[in-house]
């Protein structure tokens, strides 16, 4: 984690109200991993006191370019859209714990709801570089909100669901998952909390549907690993990237917690944003 200045290289509105910006930030482009995020300071100081957390959408160590993908939801995000190439912003990162892919996993299922694509996008690059196969299930309200396939690596199998049926599967993206659960060795999801909760429920029933023999890989029975540790997450079939309002983004303010099944709140910015699906108390628990 460090404070870094980053220069805007490219900025465009890729979907209505959604922007993709490329920054030159060599320090971040090297050494960041999929699932991590940055906390970005707005230059609009007229009353905005907090930074904005953004997933690292992609990083390219060769060029030093990192991209951020965000939706304009208020004055802070609006400010970013008015930046011009050459303008500098202040980034704190990389922050949080990354996705943990089991070395034996060959087939990765990525599941994204809307802007949640920004949370798993970088994992597609990492996986393909490592020679894995990637299927991306993407859900949006309608065709006009669907992430352009041109922004994905060619190797990714891209499957779309829309709520209104205007493109791809008519319905929720979660309805597509059962079709891939036998193929997938591991799944990684980012999106609205109800979507993640539905996925967690699906995965909890997966063992019954598929039977132990058809699990993607054998579970090592012997060694127990501490819940929440990278090793435990690496063994989880489904990892989810959670979202929460943030203050500090470094673990100092306890503003960003989610309740876990162990009964202790965990910080999305520090223990997360990636969690194993069974770490999260989906019903709350306070």
């Amino acid at each position: 984690m460090r404070l870094a200045s980053a220069e805007l290289v490219d900025s465009r509105e890729i979907l209505p109200g959604q922007w993709l910006q490329a920054y030159h930030a060599p320090d971040l482009a090297v050494g960041s991993r999929a699932g991590q995020f940055v906390h970005v300071r707005t230059g609009d100081f007229s009353g905005l006191v907090l930074r904005r957390p953004f997933s690292l959408n992609t990083t390219d160590p060769a060029t030093g370019i990192v991209t951020l993908h965000f939706r304009v939801v208020g004055r802070g995000t609006e400010w970013f859209t008015r930046l011009r190439p050459g303008d500098a912003i202040d980034l704190l990162g990389p922050l949080g714990r990354p996705f943990e892919v089991d070395p034996r996993s060959q087939h990765l299922l990525l599941i994204a709801g809307g802007l949640g694509i920004a949370g798993v996008r970088m994992l597609a690059d990492e996986a393909i570089r490592a020679g894995r196969q990637v299927t991306l299930l993407f859900g949006a309200a309608s065709a006009r909100d669907v992430y352009p396939s041109s922004l994905l690596p060619d190797e990714v199998e891209y499957v779309v669901a829309t709520d209104d049926g205007s493109l791809g599967h008519h319905g929720f993206v979660t309805e597509l998952v059962t079709g891939y659960e036998a193929w997938a060795d591991q799944a990684f999801a980012c999106g609205p909390t109800p979507m993640l909760a539905a996925l967690a429920q699906l995965v909890a029933g997966r063992r019954d549907r598929l039977g132990v023999a058809k699990l993607g890989r054998k579970r090592g029975g012997g060694k127990t690993v501490a819940a929440g540790s990278p090793a435990a997450r690496r063994k989880s079939f489904l990892q989810v990237s959670m979202e929460q309002n943030m203050g500090c983004a470094v673990g100092a303010c306890l503003g960003c917690v989610v309740m876990t099944t162990s009964g202790t709140p965990q910080r999305v910015c520090r223990e997360g944003p990636v969690f194993a699906y069974d770490e999260i108390a989906w019903e709350g628990g306070w």
């Binding site: 009353g47 907090l50 202040d90 704190l92 470094v250 100092a252 303010c253 306890l254 960003c256 306070w286």
Partner: protein, 381 residues
């Protein structure tokens, strides 16, 4: 009116057996004053006043004395502290902040038993500030000591443990466990907590309860004792007096101001706890008023908190009599703010020919009113 020079002896406490001789300024006769000067606030007569006479020697920022004495041996290397709840236990910002350059660290509110805090969302941005409702999530005093005290003991910067509780007994028990722990330099009582024994009324809003909890903690520990005022009261002065009379070494002011925010669809309050505490620049005028009032009500040092973001904020709080400030919310936007403020304060003093920042204290107080405590102002190496 007849502004008097600060009386240096009443609360003087020689530190390490040394007292510097204070160069006396020639007294101007009352009649010689220009109208503008006549309204000038009294200023502490400490150190050479090159600002009034042409500086003979250039002063480097590193020569400016920034030390603060908060009483009972609690000496801050500089008057810029970090506020409770915004800087965790001092370790979270890692290499981004050099903790040894801070004036002091107030750690997250600590209770006797672990607390899981309030349901999320817990923070949200508001105009010029933010609301938080963390709900005092913390692992309990024993775990805090075990996990962090050893690290704190290696730091030059004093760490002050912010203590919360729901009964006098709880505060006392936490204080007792902190007493004598290496690495714990002092206690800051967060009395903006519901007093379960008194039907949930906050200690902070009642002079009797505030005095009682302060006195009880005072008896339980020899640690320097700071008590943090809440702005959610009609009149701070009797409360500040009760706390000072009960033996607190210093006051800190202020905690957050109660507020709410709404969900984007306006169908419910946004925060999981409904209520949150307002902090950030929006809070500053309220903090300035309360510090102004508290300073004149007591004769122990007052540390100001509320929206400190830039040097002007520091100078304002010093001008109303605070001896130090705490930076909270501003850290979230820029964690380097506290260290930069300390540097800028030294630079500004040097530019004005001041050898000590304390010349900046209390310049905006009414002349006729009581002087702010000089305990913290007085310390000379």
């Amino acid at each position: 009116m007849k502004p008097k020079r600060r009386a240096m002896t009443s609360t003087a406490r020689p530190v390490a057996g040394k007292r510097a001789s204070v160069p006396r300024e020639p007294r101007r006769s009352e009649g010689a004053r220009s109208p503008a000067l006549a309204t000038t606030r009294p200023r502490p007569a400490v150190g050479p006043r090159a600002s009034e006479a042409p500086a003979v020697v250039e002063i480097a920022p590193s020569q400016v004395d920034l030390r603060v004495d908060l009483g009972r041996g609690l000496i801050l290397p500089n008057p810029i502290m970090v506020a409770s709840g915004t800087f965790g236990y001092g370790i979270e910002y890692g290499d981004v902040v050099d903790v040894d350059r801070l004036g002091g660290i107030c750690c997250k509110g600590t209770t006797l038993k672990p607390r899981i805090g309030n349901p999320p969302p817990r923070v949200t941005e508001t105009p010029g500030g933010m609301l938080n409702s963390i709900g005092l999530q913390n692992p309990g005093v024993d775990a805090v000591i075990e996990k962090y005290a050893r690290t704190w003991a290696t730091w030059r910067t004093p760490v002050i443990v912010n203590v919360a509780g729901e009964s006098v007994h709880e505060y006392v028990e936490v204080a007792r466990r902190l007493d004598g722990v290496p690495g714990v330099a002092g206690i800051e009582l967060n009395i903006s907590c519901p007093n379960v024994g008194a039907g949930g009324l906050q200690f902070a809003i009642d002079a009797g309860a505030a005095g009682e909890v302060t006195a009880a903690v005072r008896r339980a520990t020899d640690l320097p004792l700071l008590v943090k005022l809440s702005p959610n009261v009609a009149d701070i002065r009797p409360i500040a007096r009760a706390i000072a009379d009960a033996g607190a070494d210093a006051l800190t002011a202020i905690n957050t101001l109660s507020g709410i925010a709404l969900s984007p669809r306006r169908d419910r309050p946004l925060l999981g706890n409904i209520y949150g505490g307002l902090s950030g620049p929006a809070l500053k005028p309220v903090a300035l008023r309360i510090v102004y009032e508290a300073v004149q009500a007591v004769n122990i040092p007052v540390v100001a908190i509320g929206g400190v973001t830039e040097l002007n904020d520091v100078l304002d709080f010093l001008a109303v009599g605070a001896v130090a400030v705490q930076v909270g919310t501003a850290i979230f936007a820029d964690p380097t703010v506290p260290i930069r403020l300390a540097d800028e304060l030294a630079a500004t003093c040097a530019r004005q020919g001041m050898l000590a920042y304390r010349e900046l204290i209390a310049t905006a107080l009414p002349a006729a009113k009581g002087r702010p405590s000089s305990k913290g102002v007085e310390y000379r190496p």
